[in-house]
């Protein structure tokens, strides 16, 4: 390992923790009677490297600290978020200014009848350190060892923090140092068409050896993609969805399907399952599982979710995700879910339990049909029937008698999950894989999904 001459140094977690505690104390000491407040911190200290054909297209270092103050007063609630400098002396006056404005908002806003008082739960503290790659070595690994494979993608490395404190005395801390290399390799096959494979190497401790080993696996798959294209007609096909493809579908569950608020308003795609009009396969069980350790159990309001919550068990709906606001609105008990304006309550650490098909037997079990490595750009096409549309992408191949015959030309599917995860679900793989969160909108995301591959008897392709 060469010594890194680059002096990009990430800020020590302990320094930020001390700064955050000072800010929290400063804020809470200013509160007046009848006022409750919480303070949510998100920080990142990240190096982002964007690569195209093993060359650096753009590189960006980002140091950001974001604070969200929530003030509750007289049945009103206002949230004000702001970037901060990270220096207590600079930021304390800004925070006081934000608090004063929050008070004036509470005087002008109408009451919110579904507002819950802040709660005092147990405090939590989780710190995960990692061996992040020295930047210069990281750049060399990404650019030199990948030559000849048209390596394209994004690498991100650095610490991230989420912290929450409230005026009742509750405090949560979650910090982690980690990296990911999310990449695609490209080639042209003998039919003259672009073909690609997808890979992602993510962890807390970086190892050049592990990265190169994973890269070799991707390169081997890329060789398969050089075979002549197999024309697969639209229509119904037997297929195997690899874990990354299943993870893409799981992402859609957070577009309203698992939200209690959406269910009560009639816009959940799982409405018919919850109403016992439809049942998924007894093989299918979905959980929210924070024991995966990928993200904190506390939500942005500081509420704690159960370490495990079964959403669908053996094909039947067991629980929706319920935020504190939905709990108040519908007189039920919250399960510490977070809420966004687009899909309501959403999954933060989902897991689909595995089955009994060894991954090594997947092609043999598929026999003849489509092996789908990845799916792309999903959307509900008829949410009341849990019907999804989307595209195949990357290493999708036609298989005959358990043997790969060649890559396909990408197909559009339009299929109901009531069938795909219901009557047509034949088996799930024994092994499950973690699909790490690689979202980087606004800031790098925490979390991930864990799921098996799925063998489906009949899956409908339309274009």
């Amino acid at each position: 390992m060469t010594k890194c001459p680059v002096s990009i140094k990430y800020q020590h977690v302990e320094q930020i923790e001390s700064y955050y505690d000072q800010l929290s104390q400063h804020l809470f000491s200013q509160l007046q009677a009848q006022e409750e407040a919480s303070l949510y911190l998100q920080t990142e200290d990240q190096s982002y490297l964007r690569l195209n054909n093993s060359q650096v297209r753009q590189s960006t270092y980002v140091n950001q600290k974001e604070i969200e103050l929530v003030l509750q007063k007289n049945h009103r609630k206002i949230s004000i978020g702001s970037n901060l400098t990270g220096h207590f002396q600079n930021d304390k006056d800004k925070l006081s200014h934000i608090l004063n404005h929050a008070r004036s908002e509470c005087e002008s806003l109408p009451p919110d009848p579904y507002l819950s008082p802040l709660q005092l739960h147990e405090s939590t503290d989780q710190k995960f350190s990692g061996q992040l790659p020295p930047l210069e070595e990281f750049i060399n690994d990404l650019c030199q060892h990948t030559q000849g494979s048209d390596f394209t993608g994004l690498a991100a490395t650095g610490p991230m923090i989420r912290a929450s404190a409230n005026s009742l005395g509750q405090r949560h801390w979650f910090s982690t140092e980690s990296f990911f290399v999310d990449y695609s390799l490209f080639t042209k096959n003998v039919s003259g068409e672009n073909k690609a494979v997808k890979g992602c190497y993510a962890n807390r401790d970086f190892s050049t050896k592990e990265f190169l080993s994973q890269l070799e696996t991707s390169k081997l798959m890329l060789e398969t993609m050089k075979l002549p294209t197999i024309e697969v007609p639209k229509g119904s096909h037997r297929c195997f969805l690899a874990p990354a493809a299943v993870a893409e579908i799981m992402g859609m569950f957070s577009w309203g399907a698992v939200s209690f608020d959406s269910y009560k308003k009639g816009t959940s795609a799982f409405q018919k399952i919850a109403n016992n009009e439809v049942q998924l396969s007894p093989l299918f069980t979905l959980k929210e599982n924070f024991q995966l350790g990928l993200c904190p159990r506390f939500n942005s309001s500081g509420e704690i979710a159960p370490s495990e919550l079964t959403i669908i068990e053996n094909g039947r709906m067991k629980n929706f995700l319920i935020s504190a606001r939905s709990a108040k609105e519908y007189s039920v008990t919250s399960n510490g879910a977070d809420y966004n304006m687009w899909g309501g309550e959403y999954l933060r650490s989902p897991e689909i339990l595995g089955g009994n098909l060894p991954e090594s037997e997947a092609l043999r079990a598929l026999d003849t049909g489509l092996y789908i490595s990845n799916l792309h750009y999903l959307n509900w096409s008829d949410f009341q029937n849990a019907r999804l549309t989307g595209m195949t992408r990357y290493a999708c191949v036609w298989v005959e008698k358990g043997q790969i015959k060649g890559p396909i030309r990408d197909l559009r599917f339009d299929e109901s999950l009531f069938r795909a995860f219901g009557s047509e679900l034949e088996a799930l793989t024994l092994e499950t894989k973690i699909d790490p969160a690689i979202d980087t909108y606004h800031r790098r995301a925490l979390g991930g999904k864990k799921c098996p591959g799925m063998l489906i008897k009949d899956f409908r392709f339309t274009l």
């Binding site: 002096s7 490297l49 964007r50 054909n53 060359q55 297209r57 753009q58 590189s59 960006t60 270092y61 980002v62 140091n63 950001q64 600290k65 009103r76 609630k77 206002i78 949230s79 004000i80 978020g81 702001s82 970037n83 901060l84 400098t85 990270g86 600079n90 404005h101 908002e105 005087e107 002008s108 806003l109 109408p110 919110d112 579904y114 210069e136 750049i139 394209t152 993608g153 994004l154 991100a156 695609s184 308003k265 009639g266 816009t267 409405q271 109403n275 304006m341 792309h376 959307n379 096409s381 008829d382 009341q384 019907r387 595209m391 992408r393 990408d410 559009r412 606004h442 339309t462 274009l463």
Partner: protein, 487 residues
């Protein structure tokens, strides 16, 4: 009493900051970007969510040996700026041996100038109490029946300041006043649900002041939206078959965005986006030769339309923004790429090198992308259809990574039979392949029917960025399209 004009503007001396860092690299740039957003949401006459986000920071650019690297920081102290500048320089040095292209100062011109959004009534002309009351009244007008279980009014008010100075001599100051409003209902009857909104969930996006919230007009539109949701509860499913299709301007916005905008982005064509949103079916040799659509198809990149969501005077490289034809009489002429992509590809482009905020490097983005008006009024389109469907307001969207095979769904549709609208249809969807689809463009509506919409949420890039885009179009008629409904 609080007004909608928030007291959060940061004083930042960009000239002083530039002076402190300008000598650290071969070439340096600094961009200060501050956005103050208000998210106001009301449901069924009650407050649902109220939040404010103040996002401010700087992005430093350093060019070393032809490689540009970036460092963004929310630490606006002198120490923070200097640290970020050193980090940008170090990153440029480290990555320069692996650069994808040798850039020079020509990709950062010496433009100087200012821009300010058009507005009649600034945000301080309305109190927060009055605005809350307006949105509450809106939910009341949406709820035309007890079958409406959710009547929701959302508004985003945004004030943005972007200042940019660089070693080429650029000095740019652009101030934006932006609004977005979304009024929607959910109607339920006997376990059946339908959703309807004003023009789709995020379409009503403009550069404007508070005057956009014209109470009487909005109340009328909200009542119509509520009534259309009830119509959908009683409606038949959209039929399956190959029919003529009329798309209203509030669906054309999505059709333009996904099947013209993204495939024409030069950075996609150059492969930068291949690991995320995807590549493009367009090849560099297609410019000047590909018949993208029928001869009725004229598409412009136009950052000069007053009040459109993504109008501006300069992109973030400093390139002056001007109107350009991308497609004329159906022929592909020009791509959507800023000065960096133009240098890399030797193709002509436009001023569209934009970032979502201070913490992201600029990339090629859409901005305002419009389908120019034609000469066939909507009523004449309807009268010439034997069997067809008129669809309005996007609700579902999906397209492949090369931007070929798409499937889109709308909230509301009407059957057209023998030259007349005969009934309302629910769950309308259609699918197609981009170039054959646009070559089926049979009629384009008039300039009187040209409507301006936009979206705050166009996602792209690694690291990823949400950016504002504007799209305008009249209604358009396409022949022989694969149409279908729900189950």
């Amino acid at each position: 009493m609080s007004t909608l004009d928030l007291p959060f503007a940061t004083y930042f001396d960009i000239e002083k900051a530039y002076k402190s860092i300008h000598s650290l690299g071969d070439w340096m740039g600094i961009r200060f970007h501050e956005e103050i957003d208000q998210y106001r949401s009301f449901q069924n006459e009650k407050s649902k969510s109220q939040s404010i986000v103040v996002n401010s920071g700087v992005m430093i650019e350093a060019m070393i040996n032809g490689q540009i690297a970036y460092a963004g920081t929310s630490d606006l102290t002198n120490e923070g700026i200097l640290k970020a500048a050193h980090q940008a320089v170090q990153l440029a040095k480290s990555t320069a041996p692996h650069k994808s292209f040798l850039f020079d100062q020509r990709v950062r011109p010496s433009s100087q100038g200012k821009y300010k959004s058009p507005s009649k009534l600034s945000f301080d002309k309305m109190s927060l109490g009055e605005f809350s009351d307006l949105l509450i009244q809106t939910t009341r007008h949406l709820k035309v029946s007890d079958q409406i279980v959710s009547a929701q009014a959302d508004a985003i008010l945004n004030e943005t300041l972007i200042q940019y100075i660089n070693s080429s001599g650029a000095n740019i100051d652009q101030k934006f006043l932006l609004t977005n409003h979304n009024f929607q209902v959910v109607a339920v009857e006997g376990g059946h649900t339908q959703r309807r909104s004003l023009n789709g969930q995020v379409a009503r996006s403009y550069q404007s002041g508070i005057e956009i919230f014209d109470k009487e007009n909005l109340f009328q539109l909200c009542e119509q939206t509520g009534r259309e949701a009830l119509e959908l509860l009683k409606a038949e499913n959209c039929p399956t078959g190959t029919f003529d299709l009329i798309l209203a301007p509030d669906q054309m916005l999505l059709q333009i965005h996904e099947s013209i905008g993204h495939p024409l982005e030069l950075d996609r064509i150059l492969g930068d986006e291949r690991n995320y949103a995807g590549w493009s079916f367009i090849k560099p040799t297609d410019f000047g030769s590909l018949q993208y659509g029928s001869s009725l198809m004229n598409v412009t990149f136009d950052p000069t339309v007053s009040g459109q969501y993504a109008s501006y005077a300069f992109d973030e490289s400093g390139m002056p923004a001007q109107r350009e034809y991308l497609i004329q009489e159906g022929k592909l002429l020009r791509g959507l790429g800023g000065l960096e992509s133009q240098s890399r590809s030797n193709l002509s482009g436009v001023a569209n090198f934009r970032s979502a905020n201070w913490n992201r490097a600029p990339i090629d983005r859409m901005a305002n992308l419009n389908l120019e008006p034609g000469t066939t009024p909507l009523k004449d389109m309807i009268s010439q259809i034997e069997k067809g469907v008129l669809m309005k307001s996007n609700i579902s969207w999906s397209i492949d990574d090369y931007r070929n095979k798409f499937q889109f769904g709308c909230e509301y549709a009407q059957m057209v039979e023998n030259g007349k609208i005969t009934k309302t249809l629910k769950n309308p969807n259609y699918r197609g392949v981009t170039v054959p689809f646009w070559n089926k463009l049979k009629a384009v509506g008039t300039k009187e029917e040209f409507e301006i919409f936009g979206s705050p949420y166009c996602g792209k890039g690694e690291p990823s960025q949400m950016i504002r885009v504007g799209h305008a179009s009249p209604p358009c008629l396409f022949s022989d399209i694969e149409i279908f409904g729900g189950e």
